[in-house]
């Protein structure tokens, strides 16, 4: 704990208990606090909270914030804990503010096509609920079944469908935010545009809990898209794959919903994990998954055919088509399980999240492979090629000790991220910075980081909101 933060006293616990009630506070029981010490960023990362609070209203969140601000107690907000950058880890102990009880879908406004939700709503639950009204929530992180909307907003989560629908920020119309002082702000609302001054709404999205605590979210909905088809397309090289996908996009009657990338190593591990094989996998160095949508099933063929033909003209080895549930599951199962497959080999595996202009992806892959050879490691890569967002995953070689590898992996991921910055990219595309990428954020942002820090200091002068994230304390 830094000098700025004060250790919790029995009086603090009593005061916080008085705010949330006896059943919504965890304190002093290491077993029950344990689930709140880490997230999905990898084994080995974690820190113990002193107390976990589970507020059930904005008023409670406001009173907790005001108390912690007054007493210099650090607060770490937590959604579903599915983050990959350590954003929900309470580095300085203190309070973990879990939004698990604030998980109601408050309103589906069909006429205005918006949903109003509490932050703890699981993304998939919202998708299913709005589907009953023929509507669609297009924020679609890969962790759709486990992540919470609040966490998605805090990290400006991306996912596979950003190319067509945009990242989470594109869907957030309004936020209710509790500032460190306990003051409650209503930002935006059920309106589609707003040019009235600074957009604090946009500022809060992706701020990773360092500027305010999100207690209510108004989301843009769209009509449910029609049926989809998925193309799995093997290419001889990454260059071929990256050159082909803009041609495929141009050939499509409508923007594809997803264009995903899997390199040879990731595909091999995913096929082994899923117990399946793809023909021609041995000859291919890169794979694309292209998802297209149509108005109805009859129109689907005319949408995927030109896309597939454009891929073949651009040198694809083959085009596999999934317009049925079983085939689609086979293809997406490989993509979705890329990370799980790697965890079988290296349970501590941790991934990067760099983003570059997509034309720089072949150069990045060449750089990553040279780096892997130089260090005698495997670095499988997969990601969202049309967004230029790739996740490299260095795998721990058997000959490295845990300590040795932790340092080496961080260095490898940092070098890859900084190379991405050289190519006009950024160190994180969709996972956020958390604390794992603090150092490279500082290296890559320079003056911009100083401006960010000035905003942080203005809104959270005592630095109690998610300390140690984005900025090193």
């Amino acid at each position: 704990m830094t000098a700025d933060f004060r250790a919790l006293t029995p009086d603090d616990i009593a005061a916080l208990r008085a705010i949330v009630g006896e059943t919504a506070i965890l304190y002093g029981d290491a077993d029950r606090l344990a689930p709140y010490r880490s997230d999905e960023s990898g084994h080995g990362h974690g820190a113990n909270p002193d107390v976990v609070l589970k507020p059930c209203s904005t008023d409670q969140v406001s009173r907790i914030a005001a108390y912690c601000n007054r007493h210099r107690i650090p607060m770490t907000p937590r959604g579903a804990g599915s983050g990959l950058a350590g954003g929900a880890i309470p580095l300085y102990g203190g309070v973990v503010l879990s939004f698990e009880r604030m998980s109601s879908i408050l309103e589906i406004d069909v006429e205005n096509m918006v949903a109003v939700v509490e932050p703890g709503v699981i993304t998939n639950d919202l998708c299913q609920r709005v589907g009953e009204d023929g509507l669609f929530y297009a924020g679609y992180p890969m962790s759709v079944q486990s992540s919470s909307i609040g966490g998605n907003v805090a990290c400006n989560a991306g996912g596979a469908k950003v190319i067509k629908y945009g990242a989470t920020a594109a869907h957030v119309l309004g936020l209710e935010v509790v500032l460190a002082s306990g003051e409650v702000l209503q930002l935006g609302g059920k309106r589609r545009k707003d040019s009235s001054g600074y957009s604090l709404l946009r500022l809060m999205v992706g701020s990773e809990g360092t500027l305010g605590l999100i207690t209510k979210i108004t989301l843009r909905l769209i009509p449910q898209p029609g049926p989809s088809a998925d193309l799995l397309v093997p290419f001889r090289s990454t260059e071929d794959a990256v050159a082909a996908f803009p041609k495929a996009i141009m050939a499509a009657p409508d923007m594809p919903a997803a264009v995903e990338f899997i390199d040879r190593l990731s595909m091999c591990h995913a096929m082994a994990y899923m117990g399946t094989t793809i023909p021609l996998a041995d000859n291919a160095d890169a794979f694309l998954i292209i998802q297209v949508e149509a108005k109805d099933a009859d129109a689907l063929f005319d949408v995927y055919r030109p896309v597939g033909e454009a891929c073949l003209e651009a040198g694809a080895l083959e085009v596999y088509v999934a317009d049925t549930l079983w085939a689609s599951e086979r293809i997406w199962g490989l993509r979705r399980n890329c990370l799980e497959a790697l965890r079988v080999i290296d349970p501590t595996v941790e991934g990067g999240d760099f983003v570059v202009p997509s034309t720089a992806i072949p150069a990045m892959m060449t750089f990553i492979r040279a780096l892997a050879d130089e260090h005698g490691v495997e670095i499988p890569c997969a990601g969202h090629v049309a967004d230029g967002n790739i996740h490299p995953h260095p795998l721990k070689p058997e000959d490295r000790s845990d300590d040795e590898w932790n340092g080496q992996r961080h260095e490898l991921l940092s070098r890859i991220a900084m190379k991405a910055v050289e190519y006009g990219g950024a160190v994180s595309g969709e996972h956020g910075v958390g604390f794992l990428k603090n150092d490279i954020l500082a290296q890559s942002k320079g003056d911009e980081l100083r401006a960010m820090k000035a905003i942080k200091d203005a809104l959270d002068p005592h630095g109690i909101l998610n300390p140690g994230k984005l900025f090193s304390n």
């Binding site: 193309l231 799995l232 399946t276 094989t277 793809i278 023909p279 063929f301 995927y304 055919r305 597939g308 033909e309 073949l312 083959e318 085009v319 596999y320 088509v321 999934a322 317009d323 049925t324 549930l325 079983w326 085939a327 086979r330 293809i331």
Partner: protein, 267 residues
Amino acid sequence: MKRILVLVKQVPTSESVRLNEETGTMIRTGTDAAMNPLDLHAVEAAVRIAEASDQAIAITALSMGPPQAASALREALSLGCDEGILLSDPAFAGADTWATAYTLVRGIRTLGDVDLILCGERATDGETGQVGPMVAAMLEWPVLTYASRLEVCGDELQVGRAIEGGMEQAACPLPAVVCVLRDLNDPRLPTLSGKIRAHEAALRILGASDIEADSAHLGLGGSPTRVVNVTYPSFRRRAELLDARQDGIEAAIVRMQRFLGIEETGA
């Protein structure tokens, strides 16, 4: 061998199953439908036999169903079948397994020469596993069910049958019917060229008169099965919290055994 016939069935996807409570039959319109999952393995087996053969073998996919069942046949074509035939007629509606087998056999006789019939062991909607063996019986052909291995050696079939407690090796002469299991193979993904071919292919649609069927044996009226009642199973979940730290491990074990209905062995 010159021709393999694959029987395919369009089934509702498991999320969209609804029953007509009066007749006890499945409502087949307005639901999401797909090819019966085990039939994919039958199609794959047929395509592999044809690919491995040095003589030309034609693969025909045959289905009985409403007009929308054509999409299951197109799927079979996209996976490598050469021809699709749909037996479709309002007179066929509501058929049980016997009437279905009768209709399929009339279709098969209309087609003429067939050396091998492959089908999925059962369909995910009816779950009877009766149609394949019934077709064989009506044709007076041998049938091998539960096939998880399949090899064609000249005019003989060698089949590994998954039976309780092991694997049975069986062989029989052609022509024959084989009902296949999931373990038999890993169905391939359709290719774009396969999809284009399937999309452009003309399907043959045959009605009751085309297959010279006796109307007394068709559809609901020709079905000896009578569904007397349809009930939905009820789920009851029980839970009991055991705290071994508080009650002691012995007491917790005794309670768990009682909960699970397991007698103490005294070992």
